[in-house]
Assembly symmetry: C2
């Protein structure tokens, strides 16, 4: 088999349509929604932002002032009560993790599709409630794992699935950033009640979910260790390292920290070759995929894409065709259970098996 | 501070001398000694092979037939009894791990310096006996961690020590090979009594020791998981993943397997930058050191060196100056205790703390 690294289509999921764009209510106007989600949708082909939902009308109006096409600005209560439901088709839930549930349940009640930020919620129980609410209302729920619509991740998955490096045996992953500099120590991210955990949960989920996506398998057992040094991390985790046991003896080892240089790496070692990706977990940067195997040797360095735009366009394009977008709520539940097991492991200093 | 990647001297340890070359007795003539150690010494500047020691005189004579300058061929018993001690200055012990002790003790008894293959022995107790024998006889003992005299590892250590990437927070390491294809299933490596363990022990020691060398720190606690699939690995380990906890919250995550493509990677993520090395753990291949930090950004790709030759020449050059070579026996004991803790952790599924 011969592989051509450049033959890959960045939008392998895209299907033409004459349907109207999907209109989003943006729920939660924090840093990520303002700096990443809203600009991505402004640049998107298949969706648009029409409603802004925040803690106060003033805050929503302030954000709306810089945007075209906003039809309503709502408080969380007005949104929950069903205001302006004619003005949007789907809700993007980008509030603190521990507040997702109420907003997802409201969207389900209003018969709106949901794109919910990852992790689904701060606890497994509240995440389960999100998934159940959408299922009972029969509305699509996608969890916002933007790496899954990143072309380089999809290309890597395809190469590994095609056997380009043989059977995967070992996986290494890392993500680090300086979240404290970006959001300040008063952020909900440092409050485990609202976040569900600070580092393993917030960025450990990147290697965890991406390895699951690329291998198309789920972990069977885990181990984790966490460390905290700076005062902002009192009672929560600043640095972490974790292992994931996948079927057939595959082992993944990962490190994450919120207190180091911006870094992202992922490496799959197989029986016949090796595949690594630099920069994968950041939304707008250059990615480099390197692969070597019996029938392939080279680098794939496509033009960077806006991962958030790709995610929103994928979600919208699927809805335009009346199809459910993936990854769905059950997929997100696997990460919720895995992260709970990671924290349990870190607390007890032992390996924790996951229920199948 | 400005860094110049190319200004590094490949032999930063080398000091001129008019002394005679150090004459080696090669103890154990298996695959590694014949294919790697003896050719390295043939190519070396400061040492030479003068004595060959094996299970039978026939085997030693057979190897001697292809070499110049051999003054004696001995059985293990003859070597232990002190034959031909005038013909060599130092012993290279390259037998199966679990047979090192007798040969090291004999060398110490004959007042010969020792270069002993890693790990020191199959058990902590026998390794301790090797170290004690050399100390009591006042002979130098170096453990053969050839990566420590590899220029790329020394360059990486210097850069990190100089603060090129800030303080190290996370470390990732991997090594894999196909030892079964190289040595066959009857090899002592698959017998834990003789080897001390197959994969964590045989190749896990590469990332373990190299991370210790570069950080200049020792692990305080560990966790490991092992897996075995092929029949040759019954009762021992084929794949492994392990975590090392270093001082100040530094966490290292590693994967190793004897059943995957030849692969070697090491990555240090710091508060200010990142340093990675490809290919470090193989003796003759091209290495690539990549580093990015506030004052440095680039690649270091020196001409490959023969790691075994560098190791032998370093050892010999030190002896010529009447100085003890490093890494010494106590350094090797840290790996012995760490590897014992790794296997204990894998068996019990829990974190294991190391005695300070």
């Amino acid at each position: 088999m011969e592989y051509d690294l450049d033959s890959f289509s960045a939008r392998d999921w895209e299907r033409p349509t004459d349907a109207d764009p999907i209109r989003f209510a943006m729920v939660g106007l924090g840093w990520w929604t303002r700096e990443q989600a809203i600009p991505a949708v402004e640049d998107a082909d298949y969706c648009t932002t029409t409603v802004l939902v925040s803690s106060s009308t003033e805050k929503a109006d302030e954000v709306a002032a810089d945007l075209d096409g906003i039809e309503a600005t709502l408080t969380y209560d007005e949104y929950a009560d069903g205001a302006a439901t004619d003005a949007y088709d789907a809700a993007y839930v980008g509030t603190p993790n521990g507040l997702h549930r109420g907003h997802v349940e409201a969207a389900a009640e209003h018969d709106k599709a949901v794109l919910c930020e990852k992790p689904l919620e701060a606890t497994v129980e509240d995440a389960r409630a999100c998934v159940d609410a959408c299922r009972q209302a029969d509305v699509p729920l996608m969890v916002a794992y933007r790496v899954q619509t990143e072309p380089v991740a999809r290309r890597a998955r395809e190469l590994i699935d095609d056997g380009a490096i043989g059977d995967v045996v070992s996986v290494l992953g890392h993500m680090s950033d300086r979240i404290l500099d970006a959001v300040g120590e008063d952020s909900w991210r440092f409050d485990p009640e609202l976040s569900g955990g600070t580092t393993l949960n917030d960025i450990g989920i990147y290697p965890l979910n991406t390895i699951r996506f690329i291998l198309e398998e789920n972990p069977e057992a885990v181990y984790a260790r966490t460390e905290s040094e700076q005062p902002a991390y009192d009672g929560t985790d600043e640095h972490g390292a974790f292992q994931l046991e996948f079927p057939d003896g595959k082992l993944a080892s990962c490190t994450v920290t919120h207190s180091a240089t911006l870094a992202s790496s992922l490496r799959f070692v197989g029986t016949e070759g090796e595949l690594s990706i630099e920069g994968l977990f950041f939304p707008n940067t250059r990615k480099v995929l390197r692969v070597s195997g019996p029938d392939i040797e080279g680098e794939y360095r496509p033009e960077p894409v806006d991962q958030m735009r790709e995610e929103f366009d994928y979600f919208a394009n699927r809805l335009q065709h009346g199809e459910d977008p993936e990854p769905d709520g059950e997929h997100g539940m696997v990460d919720m259970r895995t992260i709970r097991a990671l924290y349990e492991s870190a607390e007890q200093g032992r390996r924790v098996e996951l229920d199948r």
